[in-house]
Assembly symmetry: C2
DNA sequence: TTAAGTGCAAATTCTTTGCATCATA
DNA sequence: TATGATGCAAAGAATTTGCACTTAA
């Protein structure tokens, strides 16, 4: 699993230990593309490490984020969702089933179209979030 | 103040009462363009109605949102920000001073560029959020 | 008059943290 | 073996809610 070598590398690089808990949190997060919440990650990790605590999961999610290996999204809900996919991409949140989908097509946004060059705003990053019905919920036509 | 007649209208329309607290919450929110948090709205309202409670402010923000008179933004923080400006617009969040600016230029986004027509995703609305340095913090050049 | 709305405080939800102990490097 | 990480439980921060009282319509 090449993902693990990235983790090992980064950990050594930053003088951090590679504990079983940290490894499993990262492994489980790379397995899914559902942008799980901390509680959901906790449940996934718990299946493999029954003794793990929620606090440890929170601490490792924070550490992995600081290592640049995962992203945290706080948009549109009162809790965070986590994602091990690090390429720039957009999200589609289904208002019905609450799932978050990745939209991998590049956004192709022209910032200058929106932010005039002389405005003085320096964009570090941007996020484009879509909300609506996913194909599955849309098909059931019961919105 | 024409904003108030909108409130009166909507309230009558939906069989809701127009209490002093509800009125002042809305009035204060229309006065600012700083996207205040619930606690900040509470402080603004408290200056005019010292007896008001935080719970009442939360309840009224929720009600006003349901009335379609204000918007709630939960992006990027663990708390909400509220806004009485209802036209579609984008936001710029300064990573340094944490202020949120309105960007009124229309986004001019072509959804189909990002979401292929046949994808099955039905977009209800989208949000484009910029993050970076505002003109003021950018000028101080100390990021 | 009467039910929607309020004030107050307690409860909920998500997240962080202090501390004694554990285990990686 | 030294110290970064863990488990546990308690604390925090933002928000919601139950209940008796108030007030707009």
């Amino acid at each position: 699993m090449k993902n693990m070598s990235v983790l090992t590398e980064k950990a050594k690089e930053q003088g951090l230990r590679l504990t079983r808990q940290r490894k499993v949190v990262y492994e489980e997060l790379t397995k899914v593309d559902t942008h799980p919440r901390a509680e959901e990650v906790f449940q996934m990790v718990k299946r493999r490490l029954p003794q793990v605590s929620l606090g440890t999961v929170y601490r490792n999610l924070k550490t992995l984020k600081e290592m640049g290996l995962i992203s945290e999204y706080k948009y549109a809900r009162n809790y965070s969702r986590f994602d091990a996919r690090m390429e720039a991409h957009n999200h589609f949140t289904c208002l019905k089933c609450d799932r978050v989908f990745d939209l991998l097509e590049p956004p192709n946004l022209n910032f200058q179209q929106i932010l005039p060059k002389q405005s003085g705003f320096k964009v570090r990053y941007s996020r484009l979030e879509f909300y609506g019905e996913c194909p599955n919920c849309s098909r059931m036509n019961s919105f």
